[in-house]
Amino acid sequence: MKKLTRLLALSFFLLFTTNLMAQDAEMADEMRANGKIYVLVAIILVIFAGLIAFLVLTDRKVSKLEKRLEK
């Protein structure tokens, strides 16, 4: 039990200090604030969807080929 409380205290301490250390780090806050980050998300999702659609079509083609070979 003592160990557990000590561990908890330590992790709280670490959590607190990392937050303090990190205050001044420069992040893309403005990009998030003005919503431009969603443009980026949309672009990546469209490319990903396109590639996956291509993969699914190839998968179907192979399935058809396998069915023909079974006969």
Binding site: Q23, A25, D59, V62
Partner: protein
């Protein structure tokens, strides 16, 4: 369609990775800043590579115990996909190193280890193609495959941790353990790893199925000529 649930799971997890990976909160750390999000894309490449190479090595062992066209084919194709993941991992790592370390090839132990590991696997394909006897080549490369896997693990995961690597998580640098404090990153990282691994397996099985169909066609043609 029944056995395709894991393909759907892969796509769902990766869509979630892209959305949550770019939008959810991350620790505000100096030097890495927003590039901490590479954890959702660059690191899963290496996890994926290890899983694909491990599967390849398992099929190599199976081939040595029970030589068959299928075991050899599985072993080769999983190694192929593993190489692709490894190259993507090294290239994304170079992009990040150029930003965080100042040059794409920094000669860091992690980079050197990863490069040697990939070269060890490239030699696997050279070995395969250099033996003209197909059965002998398959057996030789299966034995080499096991050695390649055994060499890859210390090169990427142990040596960089023992030396002064600047890679996050190595040589005393904060890695995933410090991000452990941040449960937000875990929530994206684990699904990302599973998603990317499943995608690699999907592409591999597709290539295996094409080669199997090819082999069947060859057999049918052989029967016709005899």
């Amino acid at each position: 369609m029944k056995s395709n649930w894991w393909k759907i799971l892969s796509v769902v997890l990766l869509v979630y990775t892209i959305i949550a990976g770019l939008l959810t909160g991350v620790p505000r750390l100096n030097i890495v800043n927003e590039t901490i999000r590479a954890l959702y894309f660059h690191v899963p490449m290496w996890f994926g590579m290890v899983v694909l190479f491990l599967t390849s090595a398992i099929y190599a062992i199976r081939h040595l115990r029970n030589p068959s066209f299928k075991n050899d084919l599985y072993s080769v194709e999983f190694a192929n996909a593993g190489i692709v993941y490894g190259i993507l991992g090294i290239v994304t790592g170079m992009i990040w190193a150029n930003y965080a370390w100042g040059s794409p090839w920094h000669g860091d132990p992690k980079q050197t280890g990863a490069a040697i590991a990939l070269l060890v696997y490239l030699a696997y394909f050279v070995l395969r193609s250099s033996v003209s006897n197909q059965e002998q080549g398959a057996r030789l490369s299966a034995a080499y495959n096991i050695f390649a896997f055994v060499a890859m693990v210390p090169l990427i995961f142990i040596i960089p941790r023992m030396t002064s690597s600047m890679h996050p998580g190595n040589g005393g640098n904060p890695g995933f353990n410090t991000y452990d404090l941040d449960s937000r990153m875990r929530l994206v990282f684990y699904p990302a790893v599973i998603g990317w691994i499943l995608l690699g397996v999907w592409i591999t099985t597709l290539r295996i199925r094409i080669k199997m169909a090819e082999e069947k066609i060859n057999q049918i043609e052989d029967e016709k000529t005899h």
